[in-house]
């Protein structure tokens, strides 16, 4: 369910390092499942600077709004444009095609602060 090569936050975002200094960011299966039908995604623009733990956008379900926090600091180098037209893809494929943004990491050391897949799974199990 939760890919071992991803890193996770307690706010239910994931990061996958791409080996070129960038990381792909998304929300977890657990997050989309808790939110229910996702109908709106608000993301930063390419070129924006984001900071670990700060709000970088929001995801809205029929019922509620939820902030998305940047799991790592850096510059947004790509935004998943398909989500503005088809936000429901976040319910269908949150760990792959429905990624949110790609970030050029300004401090790659930050990744060490995040949770492993195993730690994240025990975290949500206990939540």
């Amino acid at each position: 369910m939760y890919p071992a090569n991803y890193s996770y936050t307690k706010e239910h975002e994931w990061v996958r390092l791409e080996g070129d200094g960038t990381g792909t960011v998304g929300i977890t299966f657990h997050a989309q499942n808790e939110l229910g039908d996702i109908v709106y995604v608000d993301l930063p623009k390419v070129g924006a600077t984001v900071e670990t733990g700060k709000t970088m956008g929001s995801v809205e379900s029929v019922k509620a709004v939820s902030d998305v926090y940047a799991p790592v600091s850096g510059e947004v180098v790509a935004v998943n444009e398909t989500l503005s037209e088809a936000p429901e893809k976040l319910n269908e494929d949150p760990h792959e095609s429905a990624w949110l943004v790609k970030i050029k990491l300004s401090n790659p050391e930050e990744i060490k602060q995040l949770l492993s897949a195993a730690d994240y799974q025990s975290y949500i199990g206990a939540e």
């Binding site: 808790e34 229910g36 039908d37 109908v39 709106y40 608000d42 929001s58 809205e60 379900s61 029929v62 019922k63 709004v65 939540e127």
Partner: protein, 368 residues
């Protein structure tokens, strides 16, 4: 995410919802299903086929006695004297200052017996309110524990429920009810609802709830019935512009402001709140509920500020996506002279203004 604590109240169907994997939430102190298969799916299913809701959290209050009518009519805005036995009406319970204690359904059983269906989170307050003002020859009984309530809603609701009862459902007119039998159990069968679709709300003994719930799901299978949660109930009622206490109405809002003048019968004689309503009508109603749809990207949510000409002018009472219309819609309070259809407003969404326009309501009306 929070785990329900021991303090939450539960309906007779709580175990059924949990076992079925429904997503549960704290709804005004009740542990209730917010969704089963998903709010959008359930919403469409009610519009196109039929859905089954557990609304047993709703409260029931019985008023009996020689002056039951006098008590009901003194405390509610609509005119219960106009009801025939077997008829129901939407009404308001008001404070002396004209604000809402609650919005309720008044069912007339007979001249000496009225059955009130009230909001879950208001039921204790309502009961106290009615008891406090009971200077009539009438008895007021809190009956919430004696009833479970199921709502069968949608174009196939009648066919579904008909399979479980000998009572001929077709002749029951909208806002009428019959005391009959459903699946062998005594049931009050009312043609009412909170979805904007045809349908029934049935009042049964809690001990029968689980069995009848299952039998309704079985009976409705051929019509594609689905169990539904309170999430879809909310999107359905919003499209139909039905008020939700704590949102469109509360202690600070009068029926005139809420666009509910049609449930106020000023000519019926004195009732609690009447003087305040007369005064407000004379002085002019300064704000009113208006319906809007977003013209720019963004979803308006309850409590967001509404701006007119760059100035704060009101607030969103309910907002969200409309699954039927595929638009983002909402209701808001605005100055009465600035709420005309076509008026451009801005909703402050997380510190960013997003455009919207006042539109006719309800947003959705079923074809009859």
């Amino acid at each position: 995410m929070s785990v329900p604590g021991g303090s939450l109240r539960t309906t007779a169907l709580n175990g059924v919802h949990r076992k079925a994997g429904a997503k549960m939430v704290d709804f005004g102190g009740w542990d209730m299903p917010v969704q089963y298969s998903g709010i959008l799916d359930e919403h469409h299913n009610v519009r196109k086929a039929v859905g089954l809701f557990d609304v047993s959290h709703m409260g029931e209050i019985e008023v009996r006695g020689p002056e039951a009518l006098q008590l009901v009519n003194f405390l509610s805005t609509n005119d219960a004297a106009r009801l025939q036995p077997g008829q129901a009406q939407y009404s308001g319970l008001l404070y002396g200052h004209g604000g809402f204690v609650d919005d309720i359904l008044v069912h007339k059983i007979d001249d000496r017996h009225f059955f009130l269906c009230v909001n879950a989170s208001n039921q204790d307050k309502d009961f106290e309110h009615i008891r406090t003002h009971n200077r009539f020859d009438a008895e007021v009984e809190f009956a919430g524990e004696r009833y479970a309530q199921l709502a069968v809603q949608g174009p196939s609701a009648l066919q579904t429920l008909q399979k479980l009862t000998q009572t001929d459902l077709a002749p029951i007119a909208y806002y009428h009810f019959v005391d009959g039998v459903v699946s062998g159990a005594p049931a009050r069968i009312a043609r009412t609802g909170y979805t904007g679709e045809d349908g029934f709300e049935i009042y049964i003994a809690p001990v029968e709830a689980e069995r009848i719930w299952r039998e309704l799901l079985e009976a409705g299978k051929e019509f594609g019935i689905k169990p539904c949660g309170l999430g879809a109930r909310n999107t359905l009622r919003l499209e139909s512009k039905m008020a939700l206490y704590g949102h469109e109405i509360d202690a600070t809002i009068t029926p005139w402001e809420a666009g509910l003048g049609w449930i106020v019968k000023m000519d019926k004689g004195d009732f609690l709140g009447r003087d305040a309503l007369a005064r407000q009508k004379q002085e002019g109603v300064k704000r009113k509920l208006a319906a809007f749809e977003m013209t720019e990207r963004g979803i308006a949510r309850d409590g967001y500020e509404v701006y007119l000409d760059g100035q704060p002018a009101g607030w969103v009472t309910s907002g969200g996506p409309s699954p039927t219309l595929n638009k983002n819609i909402g209701l808001c309070y605005l100055p009465s002279d600035r709420a005309a259809i076509g008026t451009r407003i801005e909703i402050m969404i997380r510190n960013q203004p997003a455009g919207a326009v006042i539109v006719p309501s309800p947003f959705y009306k079923r074809e009859k």
